[in-house]
Assembly symmetry: C2
Amino acid sequence: MKIVVQKFGGTSVATAEGRARAMERIIAAKERGYAPVVVVSAMGRRGEPYATDTLIDLVKSIHNDIEPRELDLLISCGEIISTVVMATSLKKMGYAAVALTGGQAGIYTDGNYGCAQILDIDPKPIINHLCQGKIVIVAGFQGICADGSTTTLGRGGSDTTATALGAALKAEVVEIYTDVDGVMTTDPRLVPEAAILSDISYREICEMANQGAKVIHPRAVEAAMNGKVPIMIKNTFSDAQGTLIAENVAERVITGLAHLTNITQVKVGPLDGNDVQLAKVKVLKTMAEARISIDMVGVAPNSIFFIINGDDTEKARTALEKAGYKTVVETGCAKISVIGAGMEGVPGVMADVMESLDRAGVTVLHTSDSDITISFLIKEEDLPKAIKILHKSFNLGKK
Amino acid sequence: MKIVVQKFGGTSVATAEGRARAMERIIAAKERGYAPVVVVSAMGRRGEPYATDTLIDLVKSIHNDIEPRELDLLISCGEIISTVVMATSLKKMGYAAVALTGGQAGIYTDGNYGCAQILDIDPKPIINHLCQGKIVIVAGFQGICADGSTTTLGRGGSDTTATALGAALKAEVVEIYTDVDGVMTTDPRLVPEAAILSDISYREICEMANQGAKVIHPRAVEAAMNGKVPIMIKNTFSDAQGTLIAENVAERVITGLAHLTNITQVKVGPLDGNDVQLAKVKVLKTMAEARISIDMVGVAPNSIFFIINGDDTEKARTALEKAGYKTVVETGCAKISVIGAGMEGVPGVMADVMESLDRAGVTVLHTSDSDITISFLIKEEDLPKAIKILHKSFNLGKK
């Protein structure tokens, strides 16, 4: 049995047109001899009767503090309703389908309501239905924990359901249908020449996602990677070829550019005293105690600097000043990341980037790099200019 | 642990006022030292976002022919949403509560989607939560079958959930909260003097319900009767004492009057041939083959007569005439039933009834009787007059 997992997001199941296109994809797979397992998100926008947000608004109107366990039980109804809609749509087209909750599909998670992790998938329930020739529709974003309570998977949830099922069922491919044509070299709102990547490696897409590209959640990629199942990112509404995410794809020096905005740079110093090293550690501990995530940490002889989410600016400043540190914050920054698995061992990438930005008159506040990524902190107003020049320098646009 | 099961119907959970009154009942039980297990129906009316009918309309707008299994999965969301609403309302009042689906509450049914029967209840999940001091909220009307699919219980569903849980948990009492003050001697729309019964036996209430009283479904009563758990019918919105349904209540000769309208009398005959007895059997078989339920069957030397639901009139006439029987139908009839467990062995009840109706000028078309019930078929236009005179003759009104 050749299994394909097909995941349709909210925009694909919310409208009759979206569902019609989804049906075409599912039926085409079935007719090509595949056994389709379909993962669906909740449908509908706030205010529509069946939307998850409508359900949450209803309960929050009674009491804002819903128990996490009960909130998950409530939210899970959104995806369940979608499964019944999709199964019934397939029945109308003459295809036998069965709608399964996460629990019925054998998805077992830990008990961290709202952000549960999949611990195990029992493939038997789905396999049994597939063996009867049925198309299986699974509610995304949910599972059950040891005591039988319903859990939700948190961010990237339905994509993770799809890729984890793909791995557990040894699917030939996991198709993630969305409303874009695939993974792009960079944000097309900033760079109109941005091109669709025909393929990208697991670790590159994880890095793109971590650095701000919104196409698929890293958790979902990891589940596919662990099962060595390729992912295809495709557009429900177009016949574009899409982007293949797999292990062994040709590695380019530079594959794409991602960016994050609303970043604040924090510089702490000068640090006095006999033990400046210890003072630096204490600064980092002050941030940890305030539960503020930091990134791009750099150290100078008597100072330390890092970046935080702009929303944490005042919290960070207060914590540091209360601890007696001289602190300078630079709000309104952006982080650009240049990502390419082929840059490992290739000299001069950092130099090329710096040269391009310098020529464009963009000030680099600070930098960091890892195996396959180089990141630059700049002012947010320089972002469009910077990302355009880098995209052009590295020749990433449409060929 | 003294357990009380409290069931709140749609009218009790749909509005903020209803929920507030329900909260009072639940909290009062808890404060009196009971461990409350609360069963809730779905909330909301057609068009409201969270109403069961809204969900069904949504899917039926796609395809009218929903698979029964998927329809049950969809419908079950309505009660689940109610459980979360109630648990959150209790949390707001400072009480720990947990919301359970039918399956999570250990309710196992057969696989007859839409009208599943409870096969077994595992009391452990609920008992565990009660032992932690939590108020348990259970989604009414639903369970799971052997393969883990969600089922719904059909008519009387949430009441049956409550009484079956009452029996399985050995509850002290099952309280059914509704929008009337209790079980009445007869329909107060026809007889303004109708009185609330302070108590009634299991078999009398079953008979009342079967003969048209709409207070509680016979299936729900049977589940309580099997577990010997008393039921209290109470009004969410008033402090009326309510009606106790139990095994050993003082048996009156006449407890109440029930009625059914839209009845058709069917008379088949004269039946010719050597074997009139066989002809009568064939008439009954003709009805069975047409899948029409019959009641109040009477036989005369060369004819047979019975009643059917008025909606089946044309179907019955066609089937009988096609089979070659001379048939007379009398549409627009009503059936009045006089119910009382004390009438067994008491002579003259039938005579008293006939005399009262005769004095009121009501023609009795035919009669039938069982251990605790005497039924009369009359014309529907005579119903108000007939039921008023009987109610008065037997002195059933407010004392």
